[in-house]
Each structure stands twice: as C-alpha cells, then as structure tokens.
Symmetry: C2
C-alpha cells in the first residue's frame, strides 16, 4: 500500500512539475507577445491555457483519489493538500498570462502599453519570469532557501504596480484612454502573478518543511489571503 502511495504521489509531483514549467513558458511567451508584438506567441499562450487547465484538473482528481484510497496523514496529507492549492494557484497564473496575451493580441500590431510606463512593465515581466522560473525549479529542488528568497521579494511587484498609478495619475500622463485602460488592466494582471507566485512559494515551504513562514498554517492550505 505504502509503495503504491509513493508511486501515485510521485506521479502527481511530476504533473505539478510539468504544470509549473508550462506556466513559466506561458508567462515568458506572454511577455514576448506583449513587448515584441509577437502575435503568433500571443495565440500560442491563449491556445495553450487549455493544457494548463487540464493539468490542474488531472492533479486535483489524482489528489482526491489519493485522499479517498490512501487516507494519508501527517506529512503525506500536507503534501496532497498543498499540491491541490499550488495547482490551483498555478492555474490562475496561467489565466493571467493568457489575459496578457489577449491584450497584446487585441491591439496588434500596436502595443497596448502607454510609452511612459513601458519600462515599469518590462521590470514586471522580468520579475514574473524570474519568479515562475524559480517556482518551476522549486517543484523538483524543494530548495527552501530559494523559496524563502521568493517570499521575501513579496513587495517587489506591488511597488512596480503602485508606480504605474503614480505616473498615470500625474499631470505628465499623456497616454490615450485605450492605453490607460490596457495599462491599468495589464498592471493588475502582473500584480496578481506576483502575489500568486509568492503564495506558491509559501505553500512550498509549508509542504516541504511543515514550517509556516507566516506562522499561520491555514494560509498554506487556503488560497492566498490577498488573492482575488
């Protein structure tokens, strides 16, 4: 029974690793679609989201079957429950990458971004790529220090998000209404990617060590407490 459980848990872990890699690729491609006006990549991200959704569904089903058949406790239970919440957060990052790609496609061949905030968005994209790349590595490395560094970068995206509004609300703002609308929506998408990434980092630390960086275990079971 134990051998079967480990084998099934290993399969779920492999699927979670594939899902994290697919989400990182989606974020990277969505960025290239946005900043390079690459319409083919935009379409790839939009079409590829169904695969990410399917992975989440498969992971959740496998976890529920594990709970039903194996009745895991202690560490095993923590791994199964954490896996379900990490998969759901990864699925949400995939949706956000799709939203970024859809916005890039909607204004093609023009950029949806206001020129005055393009540099800030490049920094948001850079952070989103680095964090999802770290998450992808963490699925196999379970490197707690790397996860802790990710958690400590919590406010990086928030600061970039805020700076978009500081500029957009200033007298120097010269963007069109369309650029303003798209820049606001895109900034929100990136802010959510950053928040979900940090939440996944917290859940990974909890899953691997049982230690809760926020001293509140339930945060690692529910979705991120600032999520929407």
């Amino acid at each position: 029974m134990r051998a079967i459980f480990n084998e099934e848990l290993q399969q779920v872990a492999e699927d979670l690793t594939s899902m994290a890699a697919a989400v990182h690729d989606a974020v990277e491609d969505a960025g290239r679609a946005l900043f390079e006006g690459n319409i083919e990549l935009a379409q790839d991200v939009i079409d590829g989201d169904a695969h990410i959704d399917a992975l989440e569904h498969s992971i959740n089903n496998q976890c529920v079957i594990l709970l039903a058949k194996q009745s895991p406790v202690a560490t095993d239970l923590r791994i199964v429950v954490s896996t379900m919440s990490i998969a759901s957060l990864l699925e949400r990052i995939g949706d956000l990458a799709r939203h970024i790609a859809e916005t890039a496609r909607s204004t093609y061949p023009d950029s949806p971004l206001a020129p005055q905030v393009k540099d800030i968005f490049l920094q948001m994209q850079d952070f989103a790529e680095k964090t999802t790349s770290t998450l992808s590595d963490l699925m196999t490395s379970h490197d707690e220090k790397a996860a802790q560094r990710l958690i400590l970068s919590d406010d990086t995206m928030d600061k970039l998000f805020e700076s978009v509004y500081t500029i957009a609300r200033s007298d120097e703002w010269t963007a069109t209404t369309d650029q303003t609308i798209d820049s606001v929506l895109l900034s929100r998408y990136y802010e959510r990617i950053g928040d979900h990434s940090v939440s996944i980092g917290r859940r990974l630390v909890y899953m691997v060590s049982g230690f809760d960086p926020s001293k509140d275990p339930s945060r690692f079971i529910g979705v991120d407490s600032d999520g929407d």
Copy 2:
C-alpha cells in the same frame, strides 16, 4: 466515530454559512460605501476583512483535521474538499469587497466612478449583492435549482464588464484619467466577484449532488478555471 465526524462536519458547515453571510454583508456595505460615499461603511468593510480571512483559516484547519482524523471517503470526502474550495473563493470575494471599499475611501468625498458608467456599476453591484445573497442562503438550503439559476447567470457580469469598456473606449468618454483608472479597476473587481460567485454555485451543486454542471468534476475541486 461516525457521530463525531457528523458533529465536526456540522461545525464546519456552520462556519461556512457564517462566512458566506459575512461576505454578503461586505459586498453590500462596499456598494453603499461606493455609491453613497459612506466612509464609515468603507472602513467597516476594510476592517472586517480580517474576520473573513480568519473564518477561512479556521474552516481550512478544521477540514484538514477532519481529513487526518476521520479519513472520509465518497460523499463525506466530497463535502470536505468542496468546503475548502468554497471557503477560499468566499475569501477572495471578501478581498474584492475590501478593494471596492478602499477605492471608495481613496476618493472620498468624491465618487471614484466616471458618471457615464455609474448606471452600469449599479447593475454590477445589484448582481453582486443578489448572487452573494443567494450563496449565503444556499449554504443552508442546498437548493440545487437556485444554484443552477446562479450558474446560468454566468455571463451577466461579463456583459456589464464589457459594456464599461465599450463606453470608456468610445469618443463620448469624457472622464478624467483618475476616474478612468478607478472605473477600470472597479469593473475588474466586480467581474471577479461574479465569476467567483458562479464558481461557488458550481461547487455547491457538486458538493450536494455529486453532479457536475460542467461535466468536469475537477472544476469543483480546484479554484475556478477562469480565476485569477
């Protein structure tokens, strides 16, 4: 053992009902803060979000303890897993109500909304109040027909959301940049509330009947597939 399980499951069900009621109140108060410029209610919603978060944490902890101690299967397992995902979605609606209240507070005594879209936002608020009220009732009534009606209202909020952009991108748009930014963010918050509410309706149908309105059980275990 069975008696204890039912007793503990009943306690979780009561907490989920309290949480749904608190979330409905938050949505209602956030709307009054936004449309009536009621700064006291805005502050109440912002301060009250910690209580909603605490309820989610408590519900998740109780569910994990139930999984560990009772090893539920079949219907009981479906109820426990569904309860965790419903609680996390309710928590996210609570966050969105807080965001609406924070936006109302940030422009007080003025309204953050562009006058041209105020009517659409009143309809969004009306839909958000009705759906969260329905969800609150469903926690005890488990009325499948009411849940199905909620699920069928899926695109109501999306259409209102789209109409905000149709107006904002038209030549008739005369709002200030601040009003444009706040209207875009607020429309996104309402759209998310609608999406999460419908997702909770689907999970309730699955939890109560085991029937999956979308023919895809995993959707009722993970977070909503269009969530972010």
